[in-house]
Amino acid sequence: MDHSIAITEQDIWLALERVKDPEIPVLSLVDMAMISKVELTNEKCVIHFTPTFVGCPALDMMKRDIKTEVELLGIATEVVLDMNNTWSSDKMSTEAKTKLEKFGIAPPVTIDDSELTQEALDRVRCPHCHSTDTTLRSAFGSTLCRAIRFCFACKQGFEQFKPI
């Protein structure tokens, strides 16, 4: 392909920031730390993409969205599922976690590769009133990555992004 202006890797990353997680529309796939590698040659661009949950039903949709968005730059794009890289909620940036909380979902607590414990799950702050007097109602919620919690201070139910 002949490009009048060469596409840089930076352009690709900027395009990827426009691709949102379909289940959490305030976060891009870059915020989610789901893009593990971008390979750019003159002919094409290969995006390596790490799933959050193996059975996430939005995977195909995200792959399609990546391809569509990057190809708008005018370069053939291939999206490959990267199973050699294990995704962890600890990889999400602080900025991403702030966006998540503003959106009304409690961000995942840091687990630092250690064993996930009940105590870790209990250190969760309510995204509405910021009280930590909250409890786990169900480890399973509206999507695979969310749990349902309840805040005793403001008496509201809320969702939490599961630490994994």
């Binding site: 949950f53 193996v54 059975g55 199973m83 294990t86 349902i148």
Partner: protein
């Protein structure tokens, strides 16, 4: 080589079939949270099956994951009979989930260190997801065993019924030795030993009596393709849509 394939097939088939059974709770769970829990676990399990079938396809030249899931005969499935059983009452489904997922959790922890890299990578990922399944099972086992006299009696009888089937998870096949020798997998006997320690601690803590491990009572056969009367009707239902037009493009 055939050892790894046998391992992948039995694990994938367990996940697919328990996933299908879990999904049968969608819409009829005893409370909304349990409806969501079993539905979410179903989705996770089917995702795990897909990841394992993908390894079979990519590393061993087996058919595409969908073909492996929907176009094999009953005899070709290598799931244990525990996962085939109908969902029954909630007490049975919960106890099965508890017994099965403790084994899954330990299995994936072991396999995260497997010398067979594609499986080790999947295991590293899946073990984090299974933690939530185990946590869910443990908390309900504790609550219901410490609930009323009726709930405790139901948990005990569900345990007594499910236990011999759970021992069938650990049925071995001849090809296992090569897996142990080549550090792919530590083997079913070691897994069963660790599993028994973990489930016994929770069950005894909840005031239930753990049945004696009697190998002669273990419901085996599944790993060699011998199944209960419940698998074929499940496969017929699961494959009903595909079979209306087997060559359709999806």
């Amino acid at each position: 080589m055939s050892g790894i394939k046998d391992l992948l097939f039995k694990m994938a088939d367990d996940a697919l079939i328990i996933g299908h059974r879990n999904s049968e709770w969608t819409g009829i769970g005893p409370v909304l949270e349990e409806d969501l829990a079993f539905s979410s676990m179903a989705q996770d399990k089917i995702g795990h099956a897909f990841a394992l079938y993908t390894i079979l396809h990519e590393s061993f030249g087996e058919a595409e994951p969908d073909t492996l899931a929907f176009k094999r005969t009953e005899k070709e499935f290598k799931c244990c009979q525990l996962v085939e059983l109908p969902i029954g009452e909630y007490d049975f489904s919960l106890m099965r989930h508890f017994l099965f997922d403790h084994a899954e959790s330990l299995r994936y922890e072991m396999l995260a260190n497997s010398s067979f890299q594609p499986l080790a990578q999947v295991a590293k990922k899946v073990k984090g997801e299974i933690k939530y399944h185990v946590m869910h099972a443990d908390s309900w086992i504790k609550q219901l065993s410490n609930g009323t006299e009726e709930s405790k009696a139901r948990m005990q009888s569900a345990l007594n019924f499910a236990f011999p089937y759970a021992l069938g998870i650990f049925e071995t096949v001849d090809s296992e030795k090569e897996l142990i020798d080549s550090n792919v997998f530590l083997g079913e006997a070691e897994l069963q030993k660790r599993w028994l320690e973990n489930v016994s601690a929770i069950l005894q803590g909840a005031g239930l009596t753990v049945p004696a491990v009697d190998p002669s009572k273990a419901v085996n056969g599944g790993r060699k393709g011998f199944h209960s009367e419940y698998l074929q009707p499940l496969l017929t239902e699961m494959c009903e849509v595909v079979n209306t037009d087997p060559d359709a493009e999806w």
